[in-house]
């Protein structure tokens, strides 16, 4: 009776898990293999200004997704400011406002960008009504002369723009160009003049500002380029600079002649930009497919969570796999370990330190703790204070190991603070009891057994495919649950028993 109940329950769980899994894998085309790692960029803009003690309004342009760069997450940090976002002159803007502020003010904007093949295409944006050129008098005359000669030597808007840029950037500019540019022109000024010239010739054009994403770049600068409409779509035209611009690595931020940010009620506005890069597994296709097909399913999946939380769940969701292995090793193989789930906890901390160093740290901490524990045996302390004393020794050993490995320039050691301190303490206590009651051999055997099981769990949990499958298809854990329930009624021999009872097999 109870058996059938159990089998039905397990079958139900397995069918649920498999159905979800197959639907996601076959219909939604969630990938079964981890995709190759893709770049994640973090850009941080810091804006500082002096407030004058009156209402302050800071308007800041925000970046666009595009050029295969997709904005995944953005956040604003400002003490006491109200925040609104909206659209202004074709740009996404954020407005920070406060009734009264004085003294130096700092506002942060952080954005997280994935390099993906993205669908939204800015180049198909409709042509807005652009204001006609503002050129007057001598400037207008010079501009018309430049346009006339350039138009003669070009075939279409794109070659026209290229020629204009070339002439404006020329080290020995013509008299007309010199007049339009003024003394010592910046490259932004060159672009603005080119935009004016193109508009004069009836070609829609606009200056665009963006950021080249380069690894670990503090003090990054915005660059300006030109976009013109060739009758079908918008095309970018980069001024030929010393460093060539790679469009795939350039984040389009805002368009028009406005600066990045403007402040009312403050002065000396300055900004600095930092860019950093990391690699993460991404599920480009799945997210894209998901958005098209089953918005809801994706929204309620782990992909709807903020990126930080996602990375937490990447580690949490592999724990059941480690637990399954532990159950098998204990109940089917018959290994003995200290504490029921201690090896899995050890395995989780190995994810930070990696196997070899994790094992070394584990051995050092247990050895130090055990020798202190044996020393304290002489002091005849009661159990709880004795355990507490060992906890403190373990914590100090962890700190000492971290400092030591940091001094050696060895970064792995910095993560051992995540070792399960209490579990280690209980392990030390149990080891010392077993040591005294059953002898050092059995004690060391059990400790090594626990470590080996932990290492096996770690190796399984750290497989990229395991992490990928549990994160993308958490419903597979229902299968793991079913397997563990079935193991709960496993009444066959343990592998170690075959050895133990081998005399009786004759």
């Amino acid at each position: 009776m109870s058996r059938r109940h159990l089998y039905l329950l397990c079958a139900f769980l397995a069918i649920c898990g498999l159905t979800f899994f197959l639907y996601k894998a076959l219909v939604l085309k969630f990938p079964l293999q981890p995709e190759k790692q893709i770049a994640t960029w973090r850009v941080e803009v810091r804006m500082q200004f002096e407030a004058r003690g009156e209402p302050v309004k800071l308007k800041m342009n925000l970046p666009h997704s595009g050029n295969n760069l997709v904005i995944i997450d953005q956040n604003f940090v400002s003490a006491g400011y109200g925040l609104t976002t909206g659209i202004d002159r074709g740009n996404q803007v954020a407005v920070f406002a406060i009734r009264a502020a004085s003294g130096p003010q700092t506002v942060y904007y952080r954005v997280l960008i994935h390099a993906l093949r993205s669908a939204d295409d800015l180049s198909r944006e409709p042509v807005p009504d652009l204001p006609s050129t503002r050129l007057e008098g001598a400037e207008r005359l010079a501009a018309e002369r430049m346009m006339a000669s350039a138009r003669m030597q070009s075939a279409d808007p794109e070659t026209l723009a290229a020629l204009l840029l070339k002439r404006l950037k020329s080290p020995a500019p013509s008299a007309e160009a010199a007049l339009l540019l003024g003394p010592q022109p910046t490259s932004a000024r060159v672009i603005n003049v080119a935009v004016d010239l193109l508009r004069l010739g009836g070609i829609p054009a606009r200056p665009v500002h963006g950021l080249t994403l380069e690894p670990e770049r503090r003090g990054a600068h915005f660059i300006t380029w030109l976009e013109l409409h060739n009758g079908r779509n918008w095309v970018p035209r980069f001024p030929s600079e010393a460093r060539p611009v790679v469009p795939e690595k350039t984040l389009r931020w805002w368009q028009g002649r406005t600066p990045l940010a403007e402040v009312v009620g403050g002065e000396e506005l300055s900004h600095s930009v930092a860019v950093s890069r990391s690699y993460e597994y991404a599920l480009a296709t799945a997210i894209k497919q998901g958005q098209k097909l089953e918005q809801k399913l994706v929204e309620f999946s782990l992909f709807g969570l903020p990126i930080q939380t996602q990375s937490v769940y990447r580690s949490v969701l592999v724990i059941p796999i480690g637990i399954l292995l532990l159950v098998i090793l204990r109940n089917v193989v018959g290994l003995k370990t200290f504490g029921t789930f201690m090896p899995v906890l050890i395995a989780i901390s190995f994810r930070q330190t990696e196997l070899l160093w994790g094992a070394i740290f584990f051995a050092v901490i247990v050895a130090v703790g055990l020798s202190i524990r044996f020393y304290m045996e002489q002091l005849k302390l009661l159990l709880v204070p004795r355990l507490a004393a060992v906890v403190i020794v373990v914590v100090l050993t962890l700190a000492a190991l971290t400092i030591f490995s940091h001094k050696l320039g060895f970064e792995r050691g910095l993560s051992i603070g995540l070792f399960p301190i209490i579990i280690l303490t209980m392990t030390i206590e149990r080891m010392s009891i077993v040591w005294e009651e059953r002898g050092p051999l059995e004690s060391l055997q059990q400790a090594l057994g626990s470590l080996a099981v932990g290492a096996l769990c770690y190796l399984l949990m750290s497989l990229a495919i395991v992490e990928h499958l549990t994160f993308v298809f958490p419903e597979l854990l229902l299968l793991v649950l079913a397997a563990i329930l079935l193991l709960g009624r496993y009444s066959g021999y343990r592998l170690t028993e075959l050895r133990r009872f081998r005399e009786l097999a004759r």
């Binding site: 009661l382 159990l383 009444s491 021999y493 050895r499």
Partner: protein, 320 residues
């Protein structure tokens, strides 16, 4: 791998029971969890057994809280020999057998000496749960040290030999004598290196013996053969064992009985999860005997019927 499967098949054919099978098919089904405390706490077991008129070693005193530890000296002043035990100890851990005094020291069964502070520390450790299942706080009990029957003298190294009988639904199904060795520090615990020798249920004579997982024929410390020793008053032992089913309500039970020279058989402790090495000691699997009891459970009501059934069915197959 093929070898392992062959071994597993042979074990299955011989009815050898593994831990998983014991837990899943017998412990979880025939032993109600609410009754576990009766056997996990040796003080409760003792109380229960005395009420039912079954002999147990006399209780000299109980230390329940740390505050009472200093009273230990006066409590023990009249005693030459005694045993200190954690009430909820597991696998024989934390048991201290004092055989006499030597000046200010206690003489231990394993030949060592212990002074008063060390004994008090040991009791403190017992109270804080160092030796108990799951580490709950515990009580320390001090009781009569059994003067074991000389029948086992030749095959015992110090300590107290005892008889372990597995009782299923009130029917004794398998038995063994556990003989302390030097390696076990005078404790009758197979986990710690004591010898287990199978006992023929129908006659009460010892058969083959096992130490660890190895079959042995002589006691390693005394060199005397372990085989063919008659356990005295065997019928009484069987009866005590069979009655423990009614005592505790636990269907699958290990009963540990000691034979005192003067006081006869006494229940030492009961175990709801008795070890499986008894199968090696008897060179026989438990499963066929348990199945036989299950098949006949309806007619095995009265204690006489159960004992008769056991003697008839579970005697040594090999008459040699």
């Amino acid at each position: 791998m093929k070898g392992l499967i062959a071994v597993a098949r042979a074990l299955r054919a011989n009815g050898v029971m593994g831990i998983n099978e014991r837990n899943a098919e017998f412990n979880l089904i025939h032993n109600e969890r609410s009754r576990f405390p009766l056997v996990d706490d040796k003080l409760l077991t003792k109380e229960l057994a005395s009420k039912a008129g079954v002999a147990v070693p006399q209780l000299y005193g109980v230390i329940e809280i740390q505050h009472e530890v200093p009273e230990l000296a006066s409590l023990l002043s009249a005693r030459q020999d005694f045993v200190v035990k954690p009430a909820r100890g597991s696998q024989g851990d934390g048991i201290l057998v004092v055989t006499g005094r030597s000046g200010n020291h206690y003489r231990l069964a394993d030949g060592g000496l212990m002074d008063q502070p060390a004994l008090e520390f040991h009791v403190s450790n017992i109270l804080s749960g160092v030796f108990s299942l799951g580490g709950q706080t515990d009580r320390a009990m001090i009781e009569y040290r059994v003067n074991f029957d000389p029948v086992f003298e030749k095959i015992t190294f110090r300590g107290v030999p005892d008889v372990r009988i597995i009782v299923f639904l009130g029917v004794p199904v398998m038995a063994m004598v556990r003989l302390p060795t030097r390696a076990a520090k005078g404790k009758a615990n197979l986990h710690q290196g004591a010898i287990g020798s199978g006992v023929d249920i129908s006659t009460g004579r010892t058969m083959t013996a096992v130490r660890g997982d190895q079959v042995v024929s002589e006691h390693p410390d005394t060199g005397n053969p372990v085989r063919d020793v008659q356990v005295p008053r065997w019928d009484t032992l069987l009866e005590i064992a069979a009655r423990s089913f009614e005592l505790t309500g636990l269907g699958y039970l290990g009963v540990d009985i000691v034979l005192d020279r003067d006081l006869g058989p006494m229940i030492l402790e009961l175990n709801a999860r008795p070890g499986l090495n008894i199968q090696i000691a008897n060179r026989a699997g438990l499963r066929p005997r348990l199945d036989a009891v299950l098949a006949n459970r309806d007619r095995l009501r009265a204690i006489d019927e159960r004992l008769e059934f056991a003697k008839e069915r579970f005697g040594a197959q090999d008459p040699s």
